[in-house]
């Protein structure tokens, strides 16, 4: 007989923890009033509690998400309505709007700055810090049964380095020479020479400082995540009993730890070229009427260093989203995730392969064409573990009893987006098809769908699902569903037409298209994309309002485990204090996906296995 989700009551949870749990004598050390929790500043600002740090990451990420989104609307206006009057933006953008006879036009330099900063902040600040930073912090200790991160102090530093990076980047927006405008990839020599573009002066200096601070943040976070997962798992929590969220955060942190230092190295060399007169990336340059004395470097070297992070970075973004979606989907499907081990192996193989594909961003950059062959092989191989994951998600829904709410719907939307965006990757990964498609709107559409929109869907699924865990209240479901449908339809309306532009050869990063016969007759489609983008953005505002309203006014959480979930985070009190569990640490007895097993709706991980179960697979 089916049981309700509330069946395992608060009393039973405590009993199970008390009976089987592990006593680490945590609370004998008088943590009440200790340095972690005393006073407002220690509790909410310089907090070392992973739950607070997660919220800090999330809210900072959201602010950048809104800013990055607004930037995209301004440059979309330029692309959709190149003749339009932008004088009304003058109060906001000042001198970057050039007013002539009452008609305001956007300065091309600032157009490129917007494109650049939009890309940089969405990739790094929103989808890396805001997504992986938030949920790794929130879920790793809670789901593995740990009191906190291995080093709460480093964890706090990780956020504050991110905060500093944010401040520096934000300040760069107000420079009189403008923020950096050479594209988020910041290829030298454009990024190395202040005379090449006005944004390559002080703007680029701040951009580099900001991102180096950011790398520090990622590394501090990553070291903590890896150490915590390896060392602080509770009794009984072996690796094969980790929820897929933890697996994905774990592999993500490893990827980040191995690749971000390479980016930092690339950035340092770029700083040397800018400040110390070296020429790592400069060779035979004639600019601004004079020949540069520094020769012997290679701009291609930077591209190798950049993409050695840059490609793993897209997996750093998408793997956490995949983990969140797996967990959310399984919980609301009331069914185990299909092929748990296959999922783990595919996460691991994606992580491994992500290091062997970077040069597929450089097929037409002037690398040896022979080398491209290896990158074609490894790039297209990544489609295999990705396909396995998609099939596993679809099969998870098969035969389920799917509970529709904002979280679970975003999980479905994620899979749809991941399919759509992943498939276009098969085109671009094939070097020869990359020749016509490289740096066209086809690429823009591809990566926005697969690592932009899809990652946002994973993030939204996570936020709606774990909001009660973070704030003790629920987000409004009606608004959540409205947000979902608006975003799903809106995102497809924005990005599907871009594929057609790309196939027709329209180049990306163009301020306007009117002087090319080949690009000029797409005004209608560009207008449509812009309108769709504005509408989609409005739906994101619904989310933001819902989020902040629900923090204080949302429906209160009355039971510990509202979703009927098996994992450990739902065994903590509704308002978990420092150390997460008031008494013993829960001990884990089984894998995290016992949904609808043996006629029961779900069996929490802390419940011991019956004798019959012990003979089974898990």
């Amino acid at each position: 007989m089916a049981t309700t989700t509330q069946e395992v009551s608060k009393h039973q949870i405590d009993q199970l923890i008390e009976e089987y749990g592990y006593d680490d004598h945590f609370h004998e050390h008088h943590h009440e009033g200790d340095k972690y929790q005393s006073g407002f500043i220690q509790k909410y600002i310089f907090s070392q509690d992973h739950k607070i740090i997660a919220r800090q990451f999330l809210i900072t990420g959201m602010i950048w998400g809104i800013l990055g989104g607004l930037m995209s609307l301004i440059f979309r206006l330029q692309l959709g309505f190149p003749e339009g009057n932008m004088a009304w933006l003058k109060p906001l953008l000042g001198k970057w709007i050039i007013v002539n006879d009452g008609i305001g036009t956007l300065d091309p330099e600032f157009y490129y700055a917007l494109v650049t900063i939009h890309g940089t902040v969405i990739v790094f600040f929103v989808l890396t810090a805001g997504l992986s930073g938030t949920f790794s912090n929130l879920l790793i200790p809670l789901q593995i049964g740990a009191r906190d991160m291995a080093s709460p102090f480093l964890n706090m530093l990780s956020y504050w380095f991110f905060f500093l990076a944010s401040v520096v980047m934000f300040v760069s927006l107000f420079l009189s020479t403008g923020p950096f405008a050479g594209g988020w990839v910041a290829y030298p020599p454009l990024s190395a020479l202040p005379e090449a573009s006005s944004g390559s002066g002080a703007g680029m200096t701040l951009w580099l400082i900001s991102l180096v601070l950011f790398v520090v943040s990622v590394l501090l976070g990553g070291i903590n995540y890896i150490t915590t997962v390896l060392n602080l798992r509770t009794k009984g929590m072996n690796m094969w009993r980790l929820p897929l969220t933890i697996w994905s955060f774990f592999i993500t942190a490893i990827i980040g730890l191995l690749s971000f230092p390479v980016l930092a190295a690339g950035f340092f060399l770029l700083m040397f070229d800018r400040l110390l007169g070296t020429s790592f990336y400069l060779n035979e340059i004639f600019i601004n009427g004079h020949a540069l004395d520094r020769v012997g470097g290679s701009p291609i070297l930077y591209q190798h260093l950049f993409w050695f992070l840059g490609h793993p970075e897209v997996y750093i973004i998408i793997l956490p989203a995949m983990g969140l979606v797996s967990e959310v989907m399984s919980t609301h499907a009331r069914k185990p995730i299909f092929g748990y081990k296959a999922m783990v192996y595919s996460i691991a193989s994606i992580g491994f392969l992500s290091f062997l594909v970077w040069a597929h961003h450089m097929y037409v950059a002037g690398i040896n064409p022979f080398i491209a062959n290896f990158f074609i092989v490894f790039t297209l191989i990544i489609a295999v573990p990705s396909a396995v994951k998609v099939f596993n998600w679809i099969t998870t829904i098969y035969g389920s009893s799917y509970r529709f709410n904002a979280a679970s719907m975003f999980a479905v939307g994620f899979v749809s987006m991941f399919i759509s965006g992943g498939l276009t990757g098969i085109f671009l990964g094939n070097a020869v098809l990359d020749i016509p498609l490289h740096d066209t709107y086809f690429v823009v559409a591809h990566f926005h769908v697969v690592m932009g929109v899809a990652a946002f869907f994973g993030m939204f699924a996570g936020i709606y699902h774990w909001f009660p865990k973070m704030f003790g209240r629920f987000m409004d479901e009606t608004l959540g569903k409205l947000h979902f449908w608006g975003t799903l339809i809106g995102a497809y309306a924005v990005f599907i037409p871009m594929h057609y532009l790309g196939m027709a050869g329209v180049a990306r990063r163009y301020y306007k298209f009117d002087n090319f016969d080949a690009f000029s007759h797409f005004a209608g489609i560009n207008k449509f994309i812009t309108i769709a983008a504005i509408i989609t953005f409005v739906f994101q505002l619904i989310f933001v309002i819902n989020f902040f309203y629900s923090i204080w006014k949302g429906r209160k959480m009355t039971s510990r485990n509202p979703w009927g979930s098996t994992t450990l985070e739902w065994t903590t009190p509704i308002h978990a204090g420092h150390g997460n569990w008031p008494g013993k640490l829960p001990a884990v007895q089984r894998w995290p996906y016992d949904y609808s097993k043996n006629g029961r709706d779900f069996i929490p991980q802390i419940e011991p296995q019956s004798d019959a179960e012990k003979d089974e697979f898990h």
């Binding site: 089916a2 064409p369 009893s401 098809l433 608004l479 090319f516």
Partner: protein
């Protein structure tokens, strides 16, 4: 005021959103007796919406695919205009079909399952944790498909990026990107591009061509790319300042231009600009006026050109780096190439930058000899003795003296050869000056100059009996002495054929 309106609108929006949310939650709660029942109502409503979305999504997708069929790579107006482009388009279509099938199957299953397995009353999920057979199947099938695409892709890639051993077989050109335009250089008659050095770049030498490399002397610059149809073309791609990318959309050509490291792309155009325009005329997208501000201008297809665009962000003018590409018949191309003046000859020759200043180039000597021979032939055939004159245009003297300039020997050697060929020819060597200065001095100087020529000929083995030398001073002007050009014309050395 504006700010106030913005604030009020934002507040209103927030309030509306919150009220909508509350209302939605209330109606769900009111219409159901229990939380569980409310959830089931939501499940069936949202599940149905999933199905509606699936149908609408795929329907609109198919509609858009048909509506935008003229945007496809390899279809309609976007057919490749190069040989390798057709192979690329073929592989693109194969990939499109494969991914298209996967797209439809997976999207249908995803949303259909979401609808079919929506949580309903009395329905419980099945406990299915894994199926290794299925995992193997859906690992192997994509793996095999990818293998096929990899093999196809590599095959085409390696044929598009060949090693070419003999560059003389190809039409060659060099394109150099800079902020924010392209310089185009052709190798000229020798079909070899001369060396460049970025340190030599200047206002007069935009590419930094090294003029001591003689291969540079016939290289010409062009304002647009002109290519012969059906011939293999090799483009050498370079950049002066930052990265650019050489992008020819219709030819499926794209390659970054990297400062300090030339890159190459080899392709064969298959359609002339004329043929391209004729094809475009079939499509409604190209019936629009070519000038959007003038509805009476020619339709776009009539004026449309192949184009070179930049495909690597290079600064604020990135979007404006356009050059026209013209594909013409081989004969037209040859004719055009012959007509283009060499950059060196028109801009550098004789200036301070010219390393051959004060020397004759081989081509110039050939030209001088040609001019001399033409005069000689005319003089031999002339009836009137006064027309039997050959002007020694390239015989010159140091200022105010009768010392032959070193460069005079080339033409004088021609005279020696003539006198050796026509063994009985007798000539009078005449010196002339302009009217500046003292007339007697001029007379004496012209006499000595004529004698200097005479002496040269004698030294080179001509019988003195065949030569007379006479100075005419300024007595026989050929042009007005009032202008510098006229005076220059009058300062001359010539010989008259007295007897053959």
């Amino acid at each position: 005021m504006q700010l106030l309106i913005v604030i009020i609108s934002v507040v209103l929006l927030v309030l509306i959103v919150i009220q909508v949310g509350k209302l939605g939650e209330m109606t769900t709660a009111l219409s159901s007796s229990s939380a569980e029942e409310a959830q089931q109502t939501v499940n069936s409503r949202q599940g149905n919406l999933m199905l509606v979305f699936l149908i609408g999504f795929l329907g609109l997708f198919i509609w858009s695919a048909l509506y935008y069929k003229n945007y496809y790579l390899g279809f309609g107006p976007n057919e490749a205009a190069s040989e390798h482009g057709k192979k690329i388009d073929w592989l693109f279509n194969v990939t499109l079909v494969i991914t298209g099938i996967v797209f439809f199957i997976t999207q249908v299953l995803l949303f259909y399952f979401a609808w079919k397995y929506r949580g309903r009353k009395g329905h419980q999920a099945q406990y299915i944790s894994h199926d290794n057979k299925l995992e193997i199947v859906w690992t192997l099938v994509p793996a095999i498909t990818m293998t096929l695409l990899v093999i196809g892709g590599m095959d085409v890639w390696n044929s598009v990026m060949p090693d070419v051993d003999d560059p003389t077989e190809l039409v060659q050109l060099e394109v150099t990107g800079y902020q924010f335009a392209w310089d185009i250089r052709y190798p000229g008659a020798d079909n070899e591009l001369g060396d460049k050095n970025f340190r030599l770049i200047s206002a007069t030498n935009p590419l930094g061509q090294d003029w001591t490399d003689k291969r540079n002397l016939d290289d010409f610059h062009a304002s647009e790319i002109v290519l012969p149809v059906g011939k293999q073309v090799r483009v050498r791609i370079t950049a002066k300042d930052v990265l650019h990318s050489f992008y020819l959309p219709q030819f499926r050509v794209k390659m970054d231009a990297v400062p300090g490291m030339p890159t190459y792309f080899i392709f064969t155009p298959t359609k002339t600009t004329e043929e391209y325009r004729k094809e475009l005329s079939k499509y409604p997208e190209f019936q629009v006026p070519s000038d959007p501000d003038d509805p009476n201008s020619d339709p776009l297809w009539k004026t449309a050109n192949y184009e070179l665009a930049c495909a690597e962000l290079c600064g604020k003018g990135h979007y404006s780096m356009r050059r026209v590409v013209k594909v013409v018949s081989e004969e037209e191309f040859e004719k055009w190439a012959k007509e283009q003046p060499s950059f060196y000859m028109t801009n550098i020759r004789g200036t301070d930058e010219d390393p051959y200043k004060g020397q004759y180039l081989e081509v110039e000597l050939k030209q001088h000899a040609k001019e001399y021979k033409a005069q000689l032939e005319k003089a031999i055939e002339a009836e009137n003795p006064d027309d039997k004159i050959v002007r020694l245009k390239y015989v010159t003297f140091e200022t105010g003296s009768a010392k032959l300039s070193p460069l005079s020997k080339y033409e004088l050697d021609e005279v020696v050869a003539t006198l050796k060929e026509y063994r009985h020819m007798k000539i009078e060597i005449a010196g002339h000056t302009d009217n500046t200065g003292d007339a007697d001095a001029n007379m004496a100087l012209s006499q000595r100059r004529a004698e200097a020529v005479q002496n040269y000929l004698i030294e080179h083995g001509i019988d003195p009996a065949r030569l007379t030398a006479k100075g005419y001073g300024s007595s026989r002007p050929q042009a007005s002495n009032d202008t510098e050009e006229g005076r220059q014309e009058n300062r001359r050395t010539e010989f008259k054929i007295l007897d053959l």
